[in-house]
């Protein structure tokens, strides 16, 4: 499976798109497919802080409940309110409309500890 080249990926199947220190994060299509139909997302709080690899929310599917692990540290500046009523966006468009939160990065060097698309594709192969 091919993954977008402009993202970085964590072993916990979250992605991050860095736009000059302002990052968008979500879960990968691989994670969404493994979870099955997603019925609920517990979003982080705007203004809250994330620490890399710490939990920041919960995603519930018909099969399982899983914690969300932050791929990067930072301050939450926006959450995807659309997910409250349409959690299925995580299944239908995980890298686009299904984004979870926007974060001001605390340390862009953390991105280096994440995988690129090729490495993530190998990880999930």
């Amino acid at each position: 499976m091919a993954y977008p080249d402009d993202l970085r990926y964590s072993k916990e199947h979250e992605w991050v798109r860095n736009d000059d220190g302002h990052a968008t994060i979500g879960i990968t299509s691989f994670a969404a497919d493994e979870l099955g139909d997603i019925v609920f997302v517990e979003l982080p709080e705007v203004g809250g802080t994330l620490s890399q690899f710490g939990t920041f929310g919960v995603v519930e599917s018909v099969k399982a409940v899983s914690d969300l692990y932050a791929p990067v540290s930072g301050t939450v500046v926006e959450v995807n309110e659309a997910l409250r009523d349409a959690p299925e966006l995580l299944n239908t468009d995980p890298f686009g409309e299904g984004w979870i939160a926007k974060v001001d990065l605390a340390d862009t060097a953390e991105l280096d500890s994440l995988m690129d698309a090729a490495a993530y594709a190998a990880e999930t192969a």
């Binding site: 517990e42 519930e60 399982a64």
Partner: protein, 447 residues
């Protein structure tokens, strides 16, 4: 041969992980005085000897001839059909099923219970029940902390003192601070939680304000105003209610409550020391994922037939383990069934009659004592079916009346030193005019 699955090394590792030196340290909270020094199993007895011994023990129970004791537990008529229904072996022998969907009858009975509690409280979702009113209330406080991501709770001193002690215990583990909002205890005062006092205690660090309707003192609280105080600070409002009173009073869901809890005992469960009772909890659908305990939902199967399931189990400990909404709650399915049978048997009119008769008899108690010059209402303002009465030398006379087979309610100074010489007297539809005459006569004889 040992049957313990843990080796000495396992146990040492577990003790080290939780930071105690020995297994005995886990029992430090239990006073030495009440611990068994050693466990001695008596020698075997014949069936006849066991019957004799049990009869001897049972004869030590003192059954009062007349009782005005309430203070959280109320003696109501339990229609015979309640015992008949909960005695059916399909129900009596079943714990909450762990392969639940094969037990459609049990699930349906729980679903009906939840529906009745929603109707009574004016709320959108009710749990399958809790252990009792106190633990349901403590769980509601922790639920409010999860929903608001805050770590302090404010509780009115008008909430049953036993509930407040359980709340303290529940909050001590996760480090939630409990702030008590005092009640206006002035002589002739309202005996209620003043909104102005509450607003001083509820700020943006407080997850919820908990108040009881009626209060422990029987008084009617300004619930709408207290809910407004909580909401103004971004906190939730938790209403602890007496279920029969809901036949007369505004439903807490219409009074701004975000979570409602109650002791369900008055609904068809006999008053007995130690229970079993049943806790009720209801909430808004928007907070359902933070609700503790089991939930039964209705659905349709593949052929379109109605069926029942344990729903939203992802909140529960067998799936979410340590991250479950609660790891310390249980339900009381059989007692919930008793409440369901009771409410079904008495119906809306029957429940209203129970509540009306109880309030009428409570007023007869108060006026009979006042007319006889034996006591006066301690507070002013509206009350439900329990009334606080100032009686000189109350402790001595309470004890003297107990010797005569009359329980003159609850001695409030046991919980609240400011309420010396005050009796809390409860009435229900079982309180007869003769009972009240007996109370007045016995109290008069102890002047």
């Amino acid at each position: 041969m040992t049957y313990s699955p843990h080796t000495t090394a396992d146990r040492a590792a577990m003790l080290a992980a939780i930071g105690v030196a020995s297994v005995d340290d886990l029992f430090d909270d239990i006073p030495q005085a009440v611990r068994a020094a050693e466990w001695v199993v008596p020698p075997p007895l014949t069936e006849q000897a066991v019957r004799t011994e049990l009869s001897r023990l049972a004869s030590r129970n003192r059954i009062p001839e007349v009782s005005f004791l309430g203070a959280g537990v109320y003696r109501h008529l339990v229609p015979a059909v309640v015992g008949e229904v909960i005695g059916r072996p399909e129900f009596a022998t079943a714990y909450t099923p762990y392969q639940p969907e094969v037990s459609q009858g049990t699930l349906q009975s729980i679903y009906e219970f939840q529906s009745l509690i929603c109707e009574l409280t004016g709320m959108e979702v009710a749990s399958a029940s809790h252990y009792d009113g106190a633990t349901a209330t403590a769980e509601a406080a922790l639920m409010a902390c999860r929903l608001t991501r805050r770590t302090r709770v404010a509780v009115s001193a008008g909430v049953n003192p036993d509930y407040r002690r359980v709340l303290e215990t529940y909050c001590s583990g996760p480090g939630v601070e409990v702030v008590t909002v005092p009640v206006d205890l002035a002589d002739g005062g309202s005996g209620t939680t003043l909104p102005s006092t509450a607003s001083g205690a509820v700020d943006d660090s407080v997850a919820c304000l908990i108040a009881a309707q009626p209060s422990f003192y029987g008084q009617l609280e300004p619930m709408r105003e207290l809910a407004d105080v909580a909401h103004a600070a971004g906190a939730l409002f938790v209403a602890v209610v007496e279920p029969t009173s809901l036949a007369l009073l505004t439903a807490p869901g219409d009074d701004g409550a975000d979570i409602v809890t109650a002791e369900g005992q008055p609904l068809g469960i006999p008053a007995s020391f130690g229970g079993p009772y049943v806790g009720l909890m209801a909430a808004r659908m928007s907070s359902v994922r933070q609700m503790p305990g089991r939930l039964v939902g209705a659905t349709r199967d593949a052929r379109g037939r109605k069926g029942y399931v344990l729903t939203l189990q992802a909140r529960e400990q067998h799936i979410r383990r340590e991250k479950a909404a609660s790891n310390i709650c249980t339900n009381q399915a059989l007692m919930a069934l008793a409440a369901t049978a009771y409410l079904t048997a008495v119906g809306p009119e029957g429940l209203r009659e129970v509540a009306e008769l109880s309030t009428i008899q409570a007023r007869h108690v108060a006026s009979a004592l006042e007319d006889a010059g034996l006591g006066e209402r301690r507070f002013s303002g509206p009350y439900f079916a329990e009334v606080a009465v100032s009686v000189p030398d109350a402790a001595r006379r309470h004890a003297a009346l107990a010797e005569r087979g009359v329980v003159a309610g609850h001695l409030l100074e046991r919980d609240e030193p400011a309420l010396r010489d005050t009796l809390l007297l409860a009435a229900t539809e079982l309180t007869t005019d003769d009972d009240i005459a007996r109370l007045v006569q016995a109290l008069g004889e102890t002047m």
